[in-house]
Symmetry: C2
Subunit: 338 residues, 2 copies
DNA sequence: CTGAAAGCGCTAACAG
DNA sequence: CTGTTAGCGCTTTCAG
């Protein structure tokens, strides 16, 4: 385990001062070409690599690190966002720290604290539901922060990247209405979560537009994760007067809803916010509100680097457009088996 | 944008020396309780946070950072591994850097180089296919490295966490054979990838065991991603004498195969390495080789921290067990719709 | 074009 | 129990 070479070692080998090595490493102009190549040779020979820790210790030099906090990096939606951010970070020569809050404000607080101790140059956060004790004004002033998928609560003047939640839900439910349904149920997760609230509002918009008044018995909220959503779907199927179609507000709930329908061998027309790869391969194809989570990450990353680059414009709020994909849209050219 | 407080600021406010502050921050024993609480008050008042960069600059003090390189953090399989690692890292007070190699050795090299510049305490890698120019002996000696999902090529003496690829494939194909199939096709991705090679071997094992000789026309290799896999499945369906069942070697290929069968409205019994949430909700349920990727990450993380903790045992090779899930296993208690 | 000296924020010695 | 000194690896003055 030989010690890692330092600029000092390189300088000694090349017969120059440490400062000249620094100049070569940083591609500074005023270096004699001969000296430069001699130093470069020494660098290559020793396998020297600049210590980022030491570099960023000097004032003004930020760590080439950005931090991402999501609810759960194991959730494909969040990891797709991470992927988009990573691409942008790489273009800017930065690395990405990732951590999961598990939707717990306390964990979010700890993680952000740890990121700050590592002097991240910026932060991208999918905020947890409750008040953000860590994203206090002084934190927000000390480094750029972008909120993705949900705004901060209480609302702060930070950049956001959000989906057209309300409009997407509106259109999905509209689609069911056009098919003649009038008893359309809805299953949502935590009604405190911004996305769920917005999508619920879109559902209500569509009903109102159609002149229908919402039926309390058909609006199920507070069903977290696929297991609880499964129970919710069973409850709907147990109703004396069943709904004729169902709208579900996210990619966890749709899994539970489908499982329940599968168990009961009873399929209701379904519309879901969030797309998934198998949507068109199911027993009954479903209508989905589709969008590109990688693009969300890219937008968030680009906005963050604009701030890191010094932009002081007023907060930017980016809307990511969503598309409705109905069973009729699927693979229109596909013919039957030959 | 006020400057971030340092130990110096805390020391001045508390009327002690900087070293005493350091002692309090690091929970060292020999500090007077009165002094300690006075310092703590100053810390709280200023919102002081130790600068990790500066701390880890001292020799012997490693950065509380570990690095993860996978093929694509947007792939749910890899992000699940990341999630498992993250949990272990947190328990050990470390943060996780993540990056995608896109299966390109050159990018892998760059990413690992960047991680090393940030003085990561350890590295977890899903190695790319070709030779690992970066994971050279001197790198492997300078910090702990764990390989997940695939061993290093050329083989090095590092810890690995691998699936029972060959056995899992063997059992999946065995299952098809027991259903009476004798013309079982196989679709694989890059035959250079370790997991694909092993799973192919398992497929051949099963055929041999059944006294069948492999049919070249039914073994399709080199189909990367779901698009190419879709074409492969079409090719199988175009064969003058079609196979009666198909085994696919990963979670990308199964998507393509299913799409092709769906387009043709022609479903062949299918077995897949890699499970997915919708396996039992499809038009024709399929047989899957199932395992827990989060657990893979946990095992890798725990092994890494054993090394970071100083373990010098010979390389540890952890096998993650896999389970066969057949359509008959699915939800046995579920009854028909009431 | 090149170098010497100072210091970033912190911790390990060694005094007191 | 507490403080002083030195120095981690690097970049920034400011002189040559």
């Amino acid at each position: 385990m030989t010690a890692r070479p330092t600029m000092h070692d390189v300088a000694r080998l090349a017969g120059v001062s440490i400062k000249t090595v620094s100049r070569v490493v940083n591609d500074e102009p005023r270096v004699d070409p001969g000296t430069r190549s001699r130093v470069q040779a020494a660098i290559d020979h020793l396998g020297f690599r600049r210590n980022e820790q030491a570099r960023s210790l000097r004032p003004g030099q930020s760590t080439a690190l950005i931090g991402l906090v999501t609810g759960d990096m194991g959730n494909p939606f969040y990891s797709a966002i991470a992927r988009g951010i990573e691409d942008v970070a790489r273009q800017h020569g930065h690395l990405l720290l990732t951590a999961s809050s598990e939707e717990q404000p306390e964990r979010e607080r700890q993680v952000i604290g740890a990121f700050l101790q590592h002097n991240v140059a910026g932060l991208i956060v999918v905020p947890t539901v409750l008040a953000h004790q860590t994203l206090t004004p002084d934190v927000l002033e000390s480094l750029p922060v972008v909120a993705v998928d949900r705004p901060l609560s209480p609302p702060s003047a930070v950049d956001t990247v959000l989906l057209s939640n309300r409009d997407g839900a509106h259109r999905a439910v509209q689609h069911l209405l056009r098919d003649g349904h009038t008893r359309i149920a809805m299953i949502d997760g935590d009604p405190e979560v911004y996305t769920g609230r917005e999508r619920t509002a879109g559902y209500l918009d569509a009903l109102r537009e159609a002149g229908l008044s919402p039926d309390r018995a058909l609006i199920l909220q507070g069903y977290h994760g696929d297991r609880q959503a499964e129970a919710a779907m069973h409850a709907l199927l147990d109703l004396p007067t069943r709904p004729t179609a169902v709208f579900v507000t996210n990619n966890r709930i749709v899994v539970g809803a489908l499982k329940a329908m599968h168990d009961r061998r009873h399929w209701l027309p379904l519309a879901s916010f969030d797309d998934f790869e198998f949507a068109d391969l199911l027993t009954t194809p479903i209508t989905v509100v589709s969008y590109d989570p990688i693009e969300m990450g890219k937008q968030a990353g680009e906005q963050l680097f604009r701030r890191i680059g010094g932009s002081t414009l007023p907060p930017v709020h980016t809307q990511i457009q969503v598309a409705l994909r109905t069973p009729a849209d699927l693979r229109p050219g596909a013919g039957p088996s030959s």
